[in-house]
């Protein structure tokens, strides 16, 4: 309807406005047809248990009007635009110039804000109020930033579409949980307080090993096939965790996982606990703040390594692989091992994040490692702009923080009823965000690529020139 074919006789063609009205009218008719059986009558039981029908004509009228106006606006402003026309939503120039001024300092300002965040939250919210803001917002967002940065190596740099990234997150989490609850108490119980610090590298390495084991057969595939197989792998790991009850506790998961210590000093109310040692009153806030800085450091390590690797031959080879795999091979690059390094480096950071997640929660179950997690992490990478570290930060704050904010908005409950749970609309919101982004910035928030070296002048490269990779 909307994409009317161009006739050979332009004179008799209806104008755009006419077409839009006609189109909107038809859409409204369709809505009428749909809404009469669905919305027009409401069934209820009266006192004597009889079904009565309550007619709701106004609802039908309102729905049809909404569809009519919406479709009309779409028809006028979105569809049937001349080819090569300006993008529908243009960034205003004022925003652009302000951004240009701010951009060089964005990283420093952002980093400063992130470091100061828990202190500001403490100052504003007090020890009780701050926990929620540091834990639900700060730590949660930082976990996703770290996962986004890890996946960014695989998807953004190497161009390998990995839909099962959460598998490595799970491997990291279960590695930590199993070693800390089963292996360490059985072998070196004295090391219990150090469990997190010992297991963190082990979890990462185990996840990276899984990356290699999985990557070896899988990375021969390209594009859609790679995506499907990684998706399947993610599910397989989860199903194994559910069904191998002796090993992983099945649906019940693993609990009483040791929490991280302050480099050997546990966060508890005992004599030797953190608060007592430093002469403070015991409060759970110390651990939360400490966890925040732990994940912050882990995330920064991820960023640092990514930035460094990008400027090394291996990072350039990843990007070259994304651009043209055949040319890479003709230049003597071993494409299989290069892909494997990308895959396992991504997995390594996923494993670190997983270990942290297990330590922070104290309890894990397969529920935490469903496909939706992979999708969410991928959404963060794509929305942020493939390959851009800064974009991932912005996208994580917007998506993860946005959902948490929704939870806080109590007036939504007043509108939609007390049982309204905004987090259930997470996917709807993701979808909307994606659609809007694709209209506004099809290549993600940060849609240019920074070269890794330069002779005279660093010029950023428009994403329209950069390939997305075919796996």
């Amino acid at each position: 309807m909307a994409h009317a074919t161009h006739d050979a006789k332009p004179a008799s063609q209806p104008t755009r406005v006419e077409r839009a009205f006609k189109d909107a009218f038809i859409a409204a008719l369709v809505m009428l047809g749909l809404s009469v059986p669905i919305l027009a009558l409401r069934t209820e039981q009266n006192m004597s248990n009889e079904v009565i029908l309550i007619p709701r004509p106004w609802l039908v009228v309102i729905c049809c009007l909404i569809v009519f106006v919406g479709r009309l606006l779409l028809g006028l402003f979105v569809f049937n635009r001349a080819p090569g026309a300006k993008p529908l939503v243009e960034t205003p120039t004022a925003v652009k110039t302000a951004w240009a001024k701010f951009a060089p300092y964005a990283a420093q300002v952002g980093l400063g804000a992130i470091i100061a965040y828990p202190l500001v939250a403490l100052y504003l919210g007090g020890p009780q109020g701050a926990i929620k803001w540091i834990d639900n917002f700060g730590i949660q967002i930082l976990i996703y930033i770290m996962l986004g940065w890890g996946l960014n190596i695989v998807v953004g740099l190497a161009g390998l579409l990995d839909l099962g990234y959460v598998a490595f997150y799970a491997v990291g989490a279960y590695s930590y949980a199993l070693i800390a609850t089963k292996v360490i108490p059985a072998t070196y119980p004295d090391l219990g307080v150090w469990a997190f610090w010992i297991c963190l590298p082990i979890s990462g390495i185990l996840a990276a090993m899984w990356g290699v084991i999985l990557g070896f057969p899988v990375l021969r595939l390209r594009g859609d096939y790679l995506a499907i197989v990684t998706l399947a792998f993610g599910e397989i790991i989860r199903l194994v965790l559910i069904n191998w009850v002796d090993f992983s506790g099945g649906y019940a998961g693993l609990s009483s996982i040791p929490r991280p210590s302050f480099f050997g000093i546990p966060f508890n109310a005992s004599e030797t606990g953190f608060a007592a040692r430093f002469g403070l009153e015991f409060s759970p806030i110390y651990r939360t703040v400490f966890l925040y800085y732990v994940i912050l450091v882990l995330a920064l390590v991820t960023a640092f390594v990514t930035i460094r690797l990008r400027r090394l031959p291996v990072g350039r080879a990843w990007e070259a692989l994304r651009e043209d795999e055949i040319a890479c091979r003709s230049l003597g690059i071993n494409t299989v091992s290069t892909k494997l390094t990308a895959f396992s480096t991504g997995a390594l950071f996923g494993g670190f994040a997983g270990a942290f997640f297990a330590a922070r929660q104290g309890f894990i179950s397969p529920e935490s490692f469903v496909f939706l997690e992979s999708a969410q992490i991928l959404a963060i990478v794509v929305l942020g702009g493939m390959g851009s570290l800064f974009g991932v930060v912005v996208a994580s704050i917007a998506l993860v923080g946005g959902i948490e904010i929704l939870r806080e908005l109590d007036f939504l409950k007043a509108i939609f009823g007390a049982s309204f749970d905004p987090t259930q609309y997470r996917m709807l919101i993701f979808g909307l965000a994606m659609v809007l982004m694709m209209l506004w910035k099809p290549r993600g928030l940060i849609s240019h690529r920074e070269p890794t070296v330069f002779l005279k002048e660093r010029k950023s490269i428009s994403s329209s020139l950069v390939q997305e990779g075919h796996g």
Binding site: R316, D324, L331, G332, T335, V453, F454, S462
Partner: protein
Amino acid sequence: MSTPLLKVDHLTMRFGGLTAVGDLSFEAQAGQITALIGPNGAGKTTVFNCITGFYKPTEGMITLTQPDGKKLLLERLPGHDINWKGRVARTFQNIRLFGGMTLLENLLVAQHNVLMNASGLSILGIFGAPSYKRAEKEAIELAEYWLEKTGLIARADDAAADLPYGDQRRLEIARAMCTKPLLLCLDEPAAGLNPRESLLLNDLLISICRDHNTSILLIEHDMSVVMQISDHVVVLDYGRKIADGPPEAVKNDPKVIAAYLGVEDDEVEKTEAEIAAIAAQAKGDAR
């Protein structure tokens, strides 16, 4: 004559029932430009793909003799080792650059293996070891040299996809040369170039051959290029060799004339005139 740099013996490549290359044997001497010519679909690119490891030949042997006398059987090497160990580089008929990367980056990717070893498989590199910094500096110098030589230095920091067509072709050659090859295989490097660019290309190729100890295997449709710069010409038709020799001899070979140069110049003009007339008539009919 000394042992040839590249020796192709009884090379056959079949795709299902189609024999793209049949029992082809030829040699490319060190220090020479060898041209591989033939009509469209004759199997030239397929020969390149066999030599550079993109296809595994159905039959035959491809021997490369290193300067130290060591012989490598290219068809047995994995694809990427042909460039790294065998030191054979190539360009592609449909240009394959890393479009979203700068020219300089393109040339650094070409030096991947050297840099990778210098960076201690990235581990030294991550910590910014001086040995890696030195290697990177040398790599950038080599890249600069080739950018200078191909006249692209002014655009070193631009995206490769932003270059005009002729420049992209030269960048691809520069990129291949950054791997310091013994044998450079060029698939139609003059295609789509204007006459001036084509002349510059001739000079570049001659210089590569003379000054850099790199022999060239060249596929080309443009006969003026072939006749001017090649030392030796191999002619393919339907996957089989029909002539092999110095350019003048090949030019006058009746078999070659029949298969490939068969149409004389004035005949081409005649045919073109006919086509133009038919097209004009067709337009007239449409009105």
